[in-house]
Assembly symmetry: C2
Homo-oligomer: 393 residues x 2
């Protein structure tokens, strides 16, 4: 569809994704597909396009929020109420592998593009719907935001300080989990279609995905009857296994078994702790977790994070600094893994940094720069030319 | 491979996954593949198997932790140092589509099962490696735990209360994100193999996946130069958009625009707020967020969560209760979506509840119960019989 193929290598090369999604969960899903090599044609409303174009933060006059989620996609503005635009949309669908939408359930049916109708006309097309609560159930038609599904899905009830105020996960895990499960559902449906010829409908709900990532908390409740609560940074049943203050920040230490605990107190030069019966086993340490935390913190506060982590690592005690986002982006391992890539936006002075693709494979290129996010309707001519060529075949 | 096919429908039906993974990230990945219909043969060490079998919580003498991650898989105990066991492992690989491992980088090479060696012998086999830091880079051989990658990957630096102590996401998002990206990479590699015949190596690092879910925080830093910090439950640039105390719990309210704000204050019967110049626009509300929070909280504290949410929902103001895990599992929408399924373990009196599969599709069964997690080496006879049958073909 384009002569610039830098981003177009990957396991999904040759896959055409038509993308009706807006804001975060859907665009994150199709960003993952684009990172895997799919061609994503973003269909936007002619009057302003994706709302995310107007969500900050901004660089110059461009939404960095939009740019980071939509790099490498193409844009075509269509009003799906207008017959001419519907005709063009349908010409595209005839060549597409996947259609993704994140409208409220019912909206596609009102447009005449419900699953039954689409499947009858485009039998090769996989349809994926990402919604707040799913296509079925008593809350199906309710709108949802990340904040609402984080609240209703339980993750906020187990995140935070013990007895403290409610705490949202600092990233939009409600949207992001749905985008990830959506992408997994879509690629699985492509594999099924490859093998059987049958295209299927994929229905992913943000709330469901929050339940799917609760995991251990469900098992804890079911096994004990006790409702899981926030634990700060602490592990529910291993001690010491949490964050401690240092002279200049925080260090997490994961010294779960007796041997690691002995190595930890040796490095900290706290031999009395190693001989203390209160700390002689993991069970004992869990019972006296508060006392142990205080004693370890006193000592760890005396030196900076880097000094401690160097010594602990050398002794094989798992640990790590709590890094802020700037430290993460500058970290040698993150850099070596090409996990910060630059979006080459011609309107910006320098490539804009975004997260790279964490699915690494030596078989495919993993370029350090990515194509920009599209201007609204910026790829119309290119898409039309490609479509005409395909239709001539 | 089994006559019980209840769990075996799905887009990955017919796919054989040989699974060397232990504990959480890898088993979560292969659980997702099993939920999508793949057959997962879990290879365990003969001396006790997966460490997760000894991680609590326990029901009767069984690890609920192990059970919830390994439901529906089969188990074969092999010592990959022993020639006879290696021969059986290789017979399995000859029929497998995917091999997944989460050893430390280098371990597979020491076993003689590095990618080059495997690919030469089993050209159809996709190999996926899930590790803490990845197969490359200066930290490649370091061990990692969820706590360590949550700390080093930045998510802990943006989760918590403003100015408060560090806060871990209450679920093991370090492991879970890696399991999800691993599954997406694997299914994408299967699609690529379907189309091209080429099997590829997939290298997923827990740390990389933490960067990949930071999203908005990277854009905020890059656009403003300001390091993102924890915000409690608050949205960085929309007000009111956070959690408020009620008479019996908490309610999140997402009333981002002026119209929703006016509806909110009407329901709360606080007309003065609707006319207050401090709260006349989103920008003004963000500037006076603390004052607004206090005023809204005073009023919301007067009634229980359910009473407020009923009225706000009726008025179309997005909101939701902060539900604990027990409330989540009992919620009518979660139940209607079959997001709590029962594991039928013969050793337990009742089906044990685990999270369901959030990738819904009317084309495939979504049973309300799942097969149990395997006993160590519990499927040896069945696997051998199947293998002999396959080898006769």
């Amino acid at each position: 569809m384009t002569t610039d193929t830098r981003d177009d290598t990957g396991p999904l090369a040759g896959t055409l994704v038509v993308d009706l999604t807006r804001v975060l969960a859907g665009p994150y899903c199709t960003m993952l597909l684009a990172d895997l090599g799919a061609r994503v044609v973003k269909i936007e409303r002619p009057d302003g396009g994706d709302d995310a174009r107007r969500i900050g933060p901004f660089v110059q006059d461009r939404s960095a929020y939009f740019l980071s989620l939509n790099r490498g996609k193409q844009s075509l503005a269509l009003d799906l109420q207008r017959p001419a635009d519907r005709a063009l949309f349908e010409r595209l669908l005839a060549h597409a592998d996947v259609l993704v939408e994140n409208f409220r359930p019912g909206a596609m049916q009102r447009l005449g593009y419900g699953w039954e109708a689409l499947h009858a006309r485009f039998p090769r097309l996989v349809l994926a719907a990402i919604s707040g609560f799913g296509q079925t159930g008593p809350l199906a038609t309710r709108p949802a935001y990340d904040l609402v599904v984080q609240a209703m899905g339980g993750i906020m009830s187990i995140t935070g300080q013990p007895g403290g105020p409610p705490t949202r996960v600092g990233t939009s895990i409600g949207d992001i989990a749905a985008g990830l499960f959506g992408a997994l559902g879509i690629v699985s449906a492509l594999h099924h279609r490859d093998r059987t010829g049958e295209a299927t409908f994929v229905d992913v709900a943000m709330l469901d995905c929050q339940v799917a990532i609760l995991e251990n908390a469900i098992a804890r409740l079911a096994a004990s009857g006790e409702i899981p609560r926030p634990l700060g940074t602490r592990h529910p049943s291993i001690t010491p296994f949490e964050a401690y203050p240092t002279a200049d920040g925080h260090l997490v230490v994961a010294a779960g078994n007796d041997a690691l605990f002995q190595r930890l107190v040796a490095i900290l030069e706290l031999p009395a702790l190693g001989a203390d019966p209160r700390f002689a086993s993991n069970e004992a340490r869990c019972q006296h977790a508060d006392a142990l935390r205080e004693l370890l913190s006193q000592r760890l506060r005396e030196r900076p994070t880097a000094a401690w982590s160097e010594r602990l690592e050398a002794a094989g005690v798992p640990c790590g600094p709590i890094q802020d986002v700037a430290q993460v982006l500058a970290h040698p391992q993150v850099r070596a893994r090409n996990m910060v890539v630059g979006v080459d936006d011609p309107a910006l002075a320098a490539p804009f940094p975004v997260a790279g693709n964490p699915i690494k494979s030596p078989a495919f290129a993993d370029p350090a720069t990515r194509r920009p996010a599209p201007e609204l309707d910026g790829d119309r001519a290119r898409i039309l030319a490609w479509l005409e060529e395909e239709e001539m075949r």
